[in-house]
């Protein structure tokens, strides 16, 4: 898609505007945290544990202190009384077990990569050199790596003082909640029962800009620059964790190079940089290396999913039971425990089955903590249900699209109360699917698949379906409250019309690649009838945008964008009263259009710019009207938004090597009203890349000692454009009814939808050999082993679709596909 020239009379909403941000970013005129340099600044380097679980018996910093340029060397023992415990804002259950989480380990380390000491020095090189001179004695303790083993009572403990590795168990039951029936009964009465276990591998967010923090303690306030998605949350959490007055902390998120949830965090390094600056009374900067990112920034996913699905022989699903083990890693970070729970509301997806039970047990291991990663709970849920729908189709020898049609919510059934207790406001799954099927050439590909099977081609073809929905726009505060989340879900905006008629929009969202500056400009330009170029968007600094809850969960447009629109409306209301006063008419007689008030039935009127100047001079304002043209709104949404769509993937599997090649990828997303099609297209493409990466490439792997073996980007396989197919995208537009713009989130949709589409395609290509699953990532070796195992046991393997029998739950991978 290309940006098209536009005429001034067209509305801004819907225009493929090129991003305002890009000219500066692509020409290198950027303000990354690491670009900052302040007078007297020193550099911080962090020493990290090379072992996964150990007692620290001694740390000798004598030599490091003598190294050239070194100002200070600090260990956990030095900070024990000062540093507090890293915050977790989501106690999912009242009895959740939360370990002490010092920013700098004091007595024990619980994952390889945990910070154990820090050095401040004149240069970054001298700080790094001094790390090598610190001598730490580690007394090894037993590592705890496998989440299933860790959950058992006989497992060695990650945190001795907790007495268990199980942090919390969270349950939702539709019969108990009154939102549906009893799943055990549904399973008992099922004509078809499917039991499957899926593994959500551990992923690394792999944002492009490594994290960086700069703290300046020399002003009246501490000023903190951080490469973060959440400057407002960070400010509050620094205050609460370190006991500093919140009014004494200003946080700035300057240009931030990607996050994907990986920077939805309050990090030990932010606290450590702050504490070092406090200690030295001079500015301190920490910037990590990629190697540090890989081991110490939080990871994502990592669940074992056990599912039981009940259905009738005609393909109607009657119930779903979900049993999750979620790997927390070593500590509970900002929202770690809530991530898998977010999936609880989404396993039912677009389907209207009657009975549902979800149980999730959060488990500690001696690995890097997990937390939000693009989609956060919903990709895991969507993967599981969409894999199950394809499995059901295979079991019943039905077309996977037909199984979905039989179960999904029809467009005339909205608003729809789901079995998980949400209300979906709108959707049209039929329209999106019909369009996708047409673009894909579904039937021709099915025909080709059949021909290849009949010929026994070396390269087989598979078709994967994913009809997804997700909840985004985090979130109605009352819903977050019911989930015990530690904050609300509102967003704040202020719109200010300056004396010359130019407009400043202050937003509490904190863009780090999304294009809010462009999109918010379009929204406000339309509303106020001013030129796009006349709008400036201010964000990411708690001084200039004092209130907000930042950017994650595809919330920014549906919550923050709506706040900006509502603030614009308040500005218009205020301007109307001033204009009526000056034009000597009643407010009801004024029409506002294209930035101008006109007195109905006359040729009299005045422009918003003129009103702004009048408000500024304040020579003649109506009684009680303050001399400005500003307004602000804290907007709390009434509901989530529920984007949906249909993704179809055709994958070729080389049966000799196991290599998977995506032949064709079509997606039709429904994200409601589109403010900027270019930005939406970019979000979809990036989302698809990350979702496909989970299906085929990425995995964080630890060795038996708990060392991350995929700790560089040479080993952790992030695909490039060369490795990905051409994406064929289109949209349907079913407006959200929960906000005045009709918009829904788009930031995570591609990631959520694509992973199951790809894996379903891989399995579909080789199902006729007896393969029923391939564990992610579907590497060539795993696919080849699945095929080898299936061929070896083909004498005893049941034909797919050969009956209504259940798969043995103790042997979820009867064909050896699990590898």
């Amino acid at each position: 898609m290309t940006a098209t020239p536009v005429s001034p009379s067209e509305p801004e909403i819907g225009r493929a505007r090129r991003r305002k941000e890009d000219a500066r970013l692509v020409t290198g005129r950027t303000r990354w945290t690491d670009n900052m340099s302040l007078p007297g600044m020193v550099h911080l380097a962090v020493l990290r544990s090379p072992v996964a679980h150990a007692r620290i018996s001694a740390i000798d910093t004598t030599e490091a202190r003598r190294m050239p340029g070194v100002h200070e060397v600090v260990t956990g023992a030095d900070l024990a009384e000062r540093q507090g415990s890293m915050p977790c804002a989501w106690p999912v259950t009242p009895d959740m077990k939360t370990p002490y989480a010092p920013a700098l380990a004091v007595e024990e380390v619980h994952f390889a990569g945990e910070a154990v000491a820090m050095v401040a020095a004149r240069s970054a090189a001298e700080a790094r050199d001094a790390l090598d001179a610190i001598d730490v004695d580690y007394e090894d303790r037993e590592v705890v790596l496998d989440v299933e083993a860790a959950a058992r009572d006989d497992s060695p403990l990650v945190h001795e003082e907790l007495g268990t590795n199980r942090s919390a168990t969270w349950t939702f039951d539709s019969a108990e909640a009154g939102t549906g029936g009893d799943v055990e009964r549904a399973l008992r009465d099922a004509e078809v029962r499917l039991d499957r276990t899926f593994r959500q591998q551990r992923l690394i967010p792999a944002f492009m800009e490594p994290r960086s923090v700069l703290v300046d303690p020399t002003g009246e306030q501490y000023t903190v620059w951080s490469s973060t998605q959440v400057p407002h949350i960070l400010r509050t959490m620094i205050a609460m964790t370190l006991g500093v007055g919140e009014h004494k902390v200003r946080v700035i998120a300057p240009d931030v190079g990607g996050g994907f949830g990986g920077k939805l965090q309050v990090t030990p390094e932010e606290m450590l940089t702050f504490l070092m600056a406090e200690r030295l009374g001079r500015p301190v900067k920490w910037t990590e290396s990629r190697s540090e990112t890989m081991v110490s920034a939080h990871h994502g996913r990592d669940q074992v999913q056990r599912l039981s699905l009940a259905a009738r022989a005609d393909g109607t699903v009657t119930g779903l039971k979900v049993d999750l083990l979620a790997d927390m890693g070593a500590y509970l970070r900002l929202v770690t425990p809530g991530i898998p729970i977010l999936g609880a509301l989404m396993f039912n997806a677009i389907y209207k089955f009657d009975s549902y039970r979800f149980t999730c047990t959060n488990v500690f291991t001696t690995k890097t903590p997990t937390d939000a990663y693009r989609g956060a709970g919903r990709p895991e849920a969507t993967f599981a249900i969409e894999r199950m729908m394809d499995e059901l189709a295979a079991e019943l020898d039905m077309d996977p699209l037909e199984v979905r049609r039989r179960n999904w919510i029809n467009h005339d059934e909205f608003p729809f109360d789901t079995v998980a207790g949400l209300t979906y406001d709108s959707g049209d799954y039929e329209a999106a699917t019909d369009r996708a099927v047409e673009m894909f050439g579904y039937q021709q590909l099915r025909d080709e698949q059949l021909r290849r099977r009949q010929r026994g081609d070396t390269v087989q073809l598979g078709i994967g379906v994913s009809t997804f929905t997700e909840m985004c726009g985090l979130a109605p505060s009352r819903v977050l409250g019911s989930l015990s989340y530690g904050a609300g879900g509102w967003e704040h905006s202020q719109v200010r019309v300056l004396p010359t008629g130019k407009v400043e929009v202050v937003t509490g969202t904190s863009p780090h690649g999304q294009g809010h500056v462009t999109a918010w400009s379009q929204l406000v330009a339309d509303r106020l009838g001013v030129p796009f170029e006349d709008v400036e968007v201010l964000h990411g600094d708690t001084q200039s945008s004092p209130r907000g809850l930042d950017t994650y969960g595809s919330r920014s447009l549906a919550v923050g964008g709506v706040a900006a629109v509502r603030a614009s409306d308040r500005v218009i209301d205020k301007a109307r009263s001033i204009a009526a006063h000056l034009l000597e008419c009643s407010e009801q007689d004024l029409d506002f259009s294209a930035g101008r008030f006109s007195v109905r039935g006359t040729d009299r009127g005045m422009a918003l710019t003129e009103v702004a100047l009048a408000a500024f001079t304040a020579h003649d304002l109506p009684e009680g009207v303050e001399p400005n043209l500003d307004a602000e709104v804290s907007h709390d949404p009434e509901n989530f938004s529920f984007p949906h769509g249909t993704h179809l993937c055709a994958a070729e599997v080389d049966t000799e090597t196991g290599r998977v090649r995506i032949r064709s990828y079509v997606c039709v997303d429904d994200v409601g009203t589109v403010v900027n099609p270019l930005v939406v297209e970019g979000q979809v493409h990036g989302g698809l890349a990350q979702g496909i990466a989970q299906a085929l490439y990425e995995e964080a792997v630890h060795d038996e000692d708990g060392t991350l073996t995929t700790a560089t980007l040479a080993d952790y396989l992030v695909p490039s454009a060369v490795d990905l197919p051409e994406f064929h995208t289109d949209r349907t537009e079913t407006d959200a009814t929960s906000n005045p713009l009709g918009v829904k989130g788009v930031g995570e949709a591609g990631t959520i939808a694509s992973t199951p589409a790809v894996v379903n395609a891989v399995v579909d290509a080789i199902r006729h050999y007896g393969v029923t699953d391939v564990r992610m990532p579907c590497s060539p070796q795993r696919v080849w082993r699945a095929l080898s195992g299936a061929r070896a046991s083909s004498a005893t393997a049941a034909e797919s679709g050969g009956g209504l029998g259940s798969v043995d739950p103790d042997q979820p991978f009867p064909t050896g596909g699990d590898r």
Binding site: T657, D723, W784
Partner: protein
């Protein structure tokens, strides 16, 4: 990513470079294109006392003909090899394999000599040089000596180059009129080979008159697939002949296991990919 401190020397002749290496002692490291050494330095997996940078040694760059051989300077970049007319005409296997190395940035910096002296078994240029029966010319304090490829590669990251020696050029016998193919199997475009097969054949009078096959990442050094070569001799270039010969690709291999592939899968891949490499090379 900050390397440990080191001394830096940038000689401008081979003679100066050899002297610099001798002066620097055992902890010295030679910097060619830097595509492997720099990451290793920055991750502090190596901390040499001195880095001897060959970037200014112009006599080590370029390709020429000499006594029926191609002589390729060790500092010739991958990009130059790919574009070189002589290499494409007389050793097309090497040009084809070099095309598959990493990405354009790396190919503009990385050098043939650097790759061979680094001797990463997953590197793509070892097997082609072995298959082409190349020879390495080493310069040291006692002058120059020549080591054939099958003696040059000793183990993982270990070659016949002595501590005070430099690899200065690679001599490759002309394989004029041979057809070739390098079959690379990797996970993502920029990744190293899981397995690679370098194959070149000379077809005369409808028969395979000569065949050379080298395997990448099938052991601690590149492996010459002699069994495959013998099976091809005199055969008609048919799918069946190629397939039969490729079945012997695992012979003499001892691949390792890593995150991408276990040893048995690598041996399976070697057979499949050898068949494909030969089929393409022989025009089957």
């Amino acid at each position: 990513m900050i390397p440990a401190e080191f001394d830096y020397v940038a000689p401008s002749t081979v003679e100066e470079a050899v002297r610099a290496l001798r002066d620097a002692g055992e902890d010295a490291k030679v910097l060619a294109g830097g595509q492997s050494l720099l990451p290793v330095l920055r991750m502090r997996l190596a901390a040499p006392s001195t880095v001897v940078d060959l970037g200014k040694v112009s006599e080590m760059r370029g390709v020429r003909e000499e006594d029926g051989n191609l002589v390729i300077g060790a500092m010739t970049t991958h990009h130059e090899v790919v574009r070189d007319g002589l290499v494409n005409e007389h050793a097309s296997l090497l040009a084809l394999a070099t095309r598959t190395v990493a990405d354009p940035q790396v190919r503009h910096r990385g050098t043939l000599g650097g790759s061979l002296a680094h001797a990463d078994p997953a590197g793509d240029l070892l097997a082609p040089v072995l298959a082409l029966e190349g020879e390495m010319v080493l310069a040291g304090p006692q002058g120059r000596r020549t080591v054939p490829a099958d003696e040059f590669f000793v183990d993982h990251f270990t070659t016949a180059v002595g501590p005070e020696e430099l690899l200065v050029e690679v001599r490759v016998p002309k394989h004029t009129g041979w057809s070739a193919h390098y079959e690379k199997f990797n996970r993502v475009a920029q990744a190293w080979s899981v397995v690679g097969v370098a194959a070149t054949v000379l077809v005369e009078d409808g028969r395979i008159a000569r065949a050379r096959v080298g395997l990448t990442n099938m052991g601690s050094t590149p492996v010459r697939a002699h069994g495959v070569e013998r099976a091809l001799l005199g055969a008609s270039p048919t799918g069946e002949a190629v397939r039969r010969a490729a079945e012997r690709a695992h012979e003499g291999t001892s691949p390792g296991s890593d995150a991408s592939a276990d040893a048995d899968y690598r041996q399976h891949l070697a057979e499949v990919l050898t068949g494909r490499a030969l089929a393409t090379a022989a025009g089957v």
